[in-house]
Symmetry: C2
Subunit: 347 residues, 2 copies
């Protein structure tokens, strides 16, 4: 390789952190050196990457010395505490947390949609909320067909959004249920999960929206640069492991495009695969979306209840396009802009 980079992952032991390692390999990301960083309880764990063993180190403000790109996926408070130090040390920071998303000075980026929100001087870039990314991958291309007026969305969100611990909890509780054992709900922050679903377990604001819903509304407006966009979203966690699905109705300011137009536009949208076989009853499922890069879109139809609206159904891998993949794509986009410069010494 012609040049390589010094990479750090903060939150390396988490569900998203682990996806970074797989993506670096599968996408031949130019990793020269690698730091796996985490909190104290994970220090000393080892992981193999590209045939070499790496030991998890404690994430501190000092660990970013010499790092070219730091990927953060360890929650908002960790990002708030450490990302400024990483930027200060000269790293490009790509942050999966909500810490800086609504900061007017920080671009919130889905490369296929608003890659132009960054420039070579950008040092801190926020990865949007997973539900917002998956929604907008299907919705943003439709701007070619008319002015978006209102989105009405109900989500079917996977356990992975709550991290590796929630995925394990879903599996453990489901195993108990199948064995006729009443599960101890080991995590009091959400309802029983086996063969169950529940309204997203984040605090409810005065408008009656949970935090996840408020994020989807605010982030969609920022990413699309449409502060006036009307968004109604209901966020629900379902007993699915790692891909989110969303039932989406899009109202346009004028007459709705035809189903054929929507299919045509989405068929050539980067990162989108149309799965819309009416005769075969084959549409997006989280199982089919899991492990794939693309967001699947189907059930494309006119909304018979509104002359200006269409409806569709979307599934996308929460850990990939909803998190790690989008972050790596942001870094790749910056590398295409020439930043950060690669080091010959790793070659």
């Amino acid at each position: 390789m012609s040049g390589q980079l010094s990479i750090a992952i903060v939150g390396a032991t988490g569900a998203v952190g682990q996806e970074f390692l797989k993506l670096f390999e599968s996408r031949s990301f130019p990793v020269g050196s690698l730091k796996l960083l985490a909190s104290e309880r994970s220090v000393g764990k080892t992981y193999t990457f590209a045939g070499k063993t790496y030991t998890v180190e404690l994430a501190t403000p000092e660990t970013f010395e010499g790092v070219d790109i730091a990927f953060f996926s360890a929650g908002a408070s960790r990002s708030k505490a450490l990302a400024p130090a990483a930027v200060e040390a000269g790293a490009l920071v790509v942050d999966n947390s909500s810490a800086f998303r609504m900061d007017p000075n920080v671009p919130l980026v889905v490369p296929e949609i608003n890659g132009n929100a960054v420039n070579p001087a950008t040092r801190l870039i926020a990865v949007p909320n997973c539900s917002a990314i998956i929604l907008l991958m299907a919705v943003a291309p439709l701007r070619e067909l008319g002015t978006l007026d209102r989105l009405i969305v109900s989500t079917y969100q996977s356990a992975s959004g709550g991290g590796a611990a929630m995925m394990r909890e879903l599996e453990d509780q489901t195993r108990d249920a199948l064995n006729g054992v009443e599960s101890v709900n080991r995590n009091e922050s959400f309802p029983p999960y086996a063969f169950n679903l529940f309204s997203h377990n984040t605090p409810i604001n005065d408008d009656g929206c949970n935090e996840e819903e408020a994020k989807v509304v605010a982030e969609s407006r920022k990413i699309l640069n449409m502060q006036e966009l009307k968004v109604n979203v209901t966020c629900v966690r379902v007993p699915v492991l790692r891909a989110h699905s969303e039932s989406v109705t899009v109202e346009f300011a004028g007459a709705a495009p035809s189903v054929e137009q929507v299919r045509e536009v989405l068929s050539r949208a980067p990162g989108v695969t149309v799965v819309d076989d009416r005769a075969g009853n084959k549409f997006p499922t989280p199982r089919d979306a899991s492990g794939g890069d693309n967001v699947l879109v189907g059930r494309i139809r006119k909304d018979l209840s509104h002359p200006n609206a269409i409806s569709m159904f979307v599934s996308g891998d929460q850990l990939l396009k909803g998190a790690a993949l989008n972050a790596v794509q942001i870094a790749e986009h910056m590398l295409n802009l020439g930043q950060p410069a690669k080091h010959e010494q790793f070659a």
Copy 2:
């Protein structure tokens, strides 16, 4: 008891059929004699009801002689073939299938909503689609607060809607998945179900709607007697065993009622329980709805994307209010109207 009835259940061995037996006991339904009817492969199976053993007999046009009330839950083709004979034999027929729902001569009834659609002379009554019942239990009471204009609904439907076989399939495939075994998909009529969800597996019409969605639209209009009601519905099966949930946005013809008004109206609506604890993050779940008579409603909030709309989240037991309970309530309603007359010989 002062009088008893001769009852038949067609489809007695199914998931809904079995709920009838439990409801007859728990509600002290005036069962004098009981015929358990089914197709050939179930003939000879035995069930205990009120301490007595009953053997399943073949359902034929001749078996309805002397029957006062016949509950049908064996699919539309069975109802079409046998219900006319049951009516002819003098039985009151309460039909859970879709066979007669849209027949203008057949009332389609949710007793709390349109019990007035029947009269003592009615001999055939259709039970609506489960998703329509659960939706309308939450929506119909809101007519007191304004004129309904449009409903936008996304469903989270349980396996029980596909019968006992689909429930077993969900459990079996999930057990395999937890054991790391790739399931043989024993039922080719729907996608893999373990930790997965899918667009309702019924044929898609020219408008791009599946049969379930078309039922919800047409039946909602008939039950509410509002042919002009606009309805957008997306029907999705989720890996949940026996209760349906629905994300519902209601647009009124005028300004939306307040959250307090909606809560107040639903709090006194028969068959509805408001579960709307924002501070405790406690809202309807299918697990909490399972085994209960009432439809749970929560997440009641203004739709910030539309001045005339509110949103809410609903869960209801698919086998109970979505099917068997609603059917038994219809029969109880007819008994209150004096039909069919009870026989003293059973007393």
